[in-house]
């Protein structure tokens, strides 16, 4: 990525795509379309901005196409497995590597977004950054520290549930960004992105919680990832109780995420209706 100065960052920045509309003229890769400068001070050349905007847009487009393709591959793999074997047992093991790769790769996007958002909008969208950060962390945590580490729960139905939910959500989301960046957004994709989450999020939540709950007995028995006293660092960590705290933390955090998405939905879909009325 190009080294952007702070002032440039305020104009050519890429906030978490889940929270800012790509069409927001303040913060988008497609600066070429919105030439009016919100920020007044600097006298950079418009060309420099346009080039940086173009490069960033190209990278983002490529990234989203790749992610859409990846999650599609995952979906196809799951369907094929189920059709061949007729059961979901062993399915997770089959797709584990691909899933881990694409879910971890998403960290890259979030880290960059987080850094940019931190510098661009210090204070303004901080809660959103935290909320998105929590979502990413929980995904990574599920994949690396629950399903990949605890073999015995990989055949649970709840695992299939949340994997399916993630796949559908990610395909919708990334294809939305892709089409948006290419300025050819079909309405049904926009509709899907802002409506399917209403069902998908709770389903995903149930899948994740049930999975963690199923993992608890195995964690307790094996004492994995735990550190007991006495030891020379004089600290202890109990993974079992940690998981219980994680489960409890879903209670305050999930509604925030959900209502955040609902607010986005209202802004995007209802904002559009207002425009149509004027015409």
């Amino acid at each position: 990525m190009n080294r952007l100065t702070h002032s440039q960052k305020t104009r050519v920045c890429f906030p978490p795509l889940t929270l800012m509309q790509m069409t927001n003229p303040l913060c988008t890769g497609t600066m070429a379309s919105g030439e009016e400068d919100r920020t007044v001070e600097e006298k950079e050349t418009n060309n420099k901005k346009r080039t940086k905007g173009a490069i960033a847009t190209a990278w983002l487009t490529f990234y989203n196409i790749a992610m859409t393709a990846g999650w599609l591959v995952l979906a196809v793999a799951m369907v094929r497995y189920y059709l061949q074997k007729g059961t979901h047992k062993g399915l997770y093991k089959n797709i584990a590597r691909t899933l881990t790769f694409f879910q971890t790769f998403a960290l890259l996007e979030k880290y960059r977004d987080f850094r940019c958002c931190f510098w661009c909008f210090k204070g303004i969208v901080r809660t959103s950054v935290i909320v998105i950060g929590v979502q990413v962390c929980s995904r990574i945590f599920m994949v690396w520290f629950i399903t990949n580490s605890i073999r015995q729960i990989q055949n649970e139905e709840s695992v299939i549930l949340f994997v399916v939910v993630w796949t559908i959500t990610e395909i919708t989301r990334h294809s939305f960004y892709t089409f948006n960046l290419l300025n050819h957004l079909p309405y049904f994709i926009k509709w899907a992105r802002y409506n399917m989450f209403i069902v998908m999020y709770p389903l995903g939540l149930i899948g994740e919680l049930l999975t963690i709950h199923a993992a608890l007995p195995y964690v307790r028995r094996s004492g994995m990832y735990s550190l007991r006293l006495p030891n020379k660092y004089n600290v202890s960590f109990d993974y079992y109780y940690f998981l219980i705290i994680v489960m409890l933390s879903y209670i305050p955090l999930f509604p925030q995420l959900y209502f955040h998405m609902l607010r986005q939905r209202r802004r995007v879909l209802h904002g559009e209706i207002v425009v149509e009325k004027d015409e």
């Binding site: 006293l229 006495p230 030891n231 020379k232 660092y233 004089n234 600290v235 202890s236």
Partner: protein, 302 residues
């Protein structure tokens, strides 16, 4: 010569009811009109997004023409710094002692009200308690605060931080299964020396900073080394009180060899570095002749 005074006269008798020449008078005036906004929670500025005007700013010296528009902002419920400091320091003092005396329901019942067999645990309790008693006394008798108040929600945030960490540290240090430092007496002795040295240093700096400012005033001056050798660090550092504080906690970490203590030291260090950098920057902005050799918190490094 332009003369800015705001007089409020009684309409009938033309007696002077009120005379506004400082911003502080405006605060009082608004307070009489809106009693729910006591002066500490008022913020008045010339520009809606600008900096707040200070109490002692003289109206005559403000950059305004013949008419002036002030913008008001309610800062929310305020609480005095002294109250916050006393609460956030009294907590760790008492909480640690609860763990030290092994009050019931913390450890297994057979350990209730027992004492640890390791002498380093007793030493750690003394050091920890001494540190917070020192802080409490400094808050009451040494510090001179520039702002009287801070937002109310800060007390919850700060207390959670201090009390939470104190409980976490105290739990492990006073645990029946506590493991003393690997290098034994040598490690503990060195740690104690570091700790005491930094405590005295920290106190010296606080005294030196207090003496910079006459009682009741809010003047700002560059701190310089005094006759006290512990203040000679002012040659190299802008905020040596933070440097010494870091040193104290490093000593305590070494003494107890406890990971939660190390975590607390690290988090404190990060926060103090942020503060030190801010203070250093404001010194540089305010004083043209600020010594260039000084670093914010760690000599030459940070």
């Amino acid at each position: 010569m332009k003369h800015y005074e705001v007089e409020i006269l009684d309409a009938k008798t033309k007696d002077k009811l009120c005379f506004l020449d400082k911003v502080g008078n405006i605060f009082t005036f608004i307070f009489t009109l809106y009693p729910q906004w006591y002066p500490a929670r008022q913020s008045i500025r010339l520009d809606p997004k600008g900096k707040s005007l200070k109490d002692e700013d003289v109206l005559q010296h403000l950059p305004v023409g013949t008419t002036a528009t002030f913008y008001f902002r309610d800062l929310g419920a305020q609480i005095s710094w002294v109250t916050v400091f006393l609460t956030e320091y009294a907590g760790p003092l008492l909480i640690y002692l609860m763990f030290y005396f092994r009050v019931p329901f913390i450890y297994a019942p057979k350990y209730d009200f027992t004492t640890s067999k390791h002498w380093v645990v007793h030493l750690a309790c003394m050091c920890h308690s001494f540190h917070y008693v020192k802080r409490l006394l400094e808050t009451l008798f040494v510090h001179r605060f520039s702002h009287g108040t801070m937002p109310l929600r800060n007390i919850f945030k700060n207390c959670t931080y201090y009390w939470g960490f104190a409980a976490w540290m105290a739990y492990y240090i006073n645990h029946p299964l506590y493991t003393p430092p690997i290098y034994g007496e040598q490690q503990i002795r060195l740690a104690l020396i570091v700790f005491l040295f930094c405590q005295i240093g920290n106190f010296s700096i606080h005294i030196a900073l207090r003496n910079l400012r006459p009682p009741g005033s809010k003047t700002r001056k560059i701190p310089y080394p005094t006759k006290n050798p512990f203040t000679w660090i002012f040659l190299l550092v802008s905020c040596p009180n933070y440097t010494y504080e870091l040193g104290s906690w490093l000593g305590f970490t070494l003494m107890t060899q406890c990971l939660p203590v190390a975590a607390f030291t690290l988090v404190g260090f990060i926060q103090m570095t942020v503060w030190a950098k801010g203070k250093h920057r404001s010194y540089l902005k305010e004083f043209r002749d600020y010594p260039t050799l000084r670093s914010p918190i760690l000599p030459f490094i940070l």
